[in-house]
Symmetry: C2
DNA sequence: TGGAAACTGTGTGCCAGCGCACAGAACTGT
DNA sequence: ACAGTTCTGTGCGCTGGCACACAGTTTCCA
């Protein structure tokens, strides 16, 4: 639940011409623009189980994930909460500011360690305003996010847990260079909005089918194709 | 399932200074701008059970509902589908174009008769580009829609049918001057993504509680406060 | 090295909503 | 006035996931 640990300033010097950004949004900038943005950014790390923001928090900073992923969640009363989308290197945290909002719409939770480039929201908006192409790329991302969230309604309504779990693991894997995935059944239950032992059942079955292998919070995907078959169709609509 | 019936051209003459637009988005335009937009618009009617678009359709025209409401839905395979939001006079159909998309993200279904002002998407975008304030209003609407859809995930996951039905009826009523509401249990089932007899049960119970009264597709809200208490919290997040 | 904490497996009873099916009621058109 | 259609009420067995509970296992730390 803590905030960031280990914040280090990150100047131009760290970024050489061959190491392009790890974030797709930043990749859409020209080298010059990227340099300028990097000059007012720093690299921030979040530990697993951190919470970057909750819905309604004022957006002071924008984050561009460069390794790992965040989980966009929505919380109701009586502590019910569920994930609506992932945001990894394909995305940007704080996109709401592009729509003129001053506060986050969703909770931003960090299931596994995350590194992200942090930019002041003012600096970000100035650059977005000055670069129509970049802004359009971001609008497209927002539209994609919208699609995913809308599918989430259907998914939550119709799809069984095992398929949703398979989808979830695939989406994590897509944003996650490291092996294995470091998620406990408890955390997965939180994301999926189900109880923990439900995840045990589903995961046990997926393992029985030879699709995954796990032990105490370490999950490995053994059969990607098989897992895609076990996942609900929604996986195909994911932006990654 | 038919398209529009009864399309009539609607010039400036029909709109006098005292009859302001029935659509909130249009209300944000100056009289001059409104006049100009009206000159390239016409009023279109859709009959109940019409389908204006399905996700993926190219956006050729933008609609500003002026009476009635549309239902934004998402469809999966095996004919499962569920509503993610309403769009009435507070909204605009085809907002996706503001994010640079050329096609609709969601299905647009018409449960009850709907009248909407129709504008060519090109004309619309020109005017949106020229009017920053208006564009910002629309972005805010998109953000509100996003919130509603995200809550929909939580709602579909956690809230029981009776509460969701109550919410649905309230949201219809908010966008619906006419009494009674003209929706069959079948249509409600389609919106909520449940089976028809589930709606029968829930509706029977709401009627038993004295909150609503219905007969063969005519629904009347008898006790608005009571219905709000019966509805899930999500009702409070609705934009209307 | 031993105890606490975290993680996982399992079991039991329960409930909302499903799928399917059918019957009665109300409306509609000719 | 009658026949067809639409809408609604009801019943039954089933299932996915819930709530609660507890035991076993692995890891971590003092």
């Amino acid at each position: 639940m803590e905030r960031a640990v280990d914040t280090q300033p990150l100047g131009l010097g760290r970024r050489t011409s061959e190491t392009v950004s790890e974030n797709r949004m930043l990749d859409c900038l020209s080298p010059d623009e990227l340099s300028q943005l990097m000059a007012v950014s720093d690299l921030t790390s979040f530990v697993a189980d951190a919470r970057i923001a909750v819905g309604g928090d004022v957006i002071r900073e924008i984050y561009f994930p460069v390794s790992g992923y965040a989980s966009l969640m929505i919380t109701g009363s009586e502590e019910s909460s569920v994930q609506v989308a992932f945001a990894g290197r394909e995305g940007i945290l704080g996109w709401e500011s592009l729509l003129g909002r001053e506060s986050f719409l969703l909770d931003i939770y960090v299931p596994e360690a995350l590194k992200a480039l942090r930019v002041d929201v003012g600096e970000f908006l100035i650059r977005a305003a000055a670069n129509e192409h970049w802004r359009n790329v971001q609008f497209k991302y927002v539209a994609g996010l919208f699609t995913v969230v809308a599918r989430g309604v259907l998914c939550a309504r119709f799809h069984v847990l095992e398929a949703r779990l398979a989808r979830c693991l695939l989406e994590v894997s897509d944003r996650h260079a490291e092996i294995p995935i470091l998620l406990t059944q408890n955390t997965l239950a939180k994301l999926l909005g189900v109880r923990r032992s439900g995840v045990t059942n589903a995961a046990t079955h997926l393992q029985l089918l030879g699709l995954i292998q796990y032990r105490r919070g370490e999950i490995r995907l053994l059969d990607r194709k098989g897992l895609e078959a076990a996942a609900c169709e929604c996986y195909r609509f994911d932006v990654h």
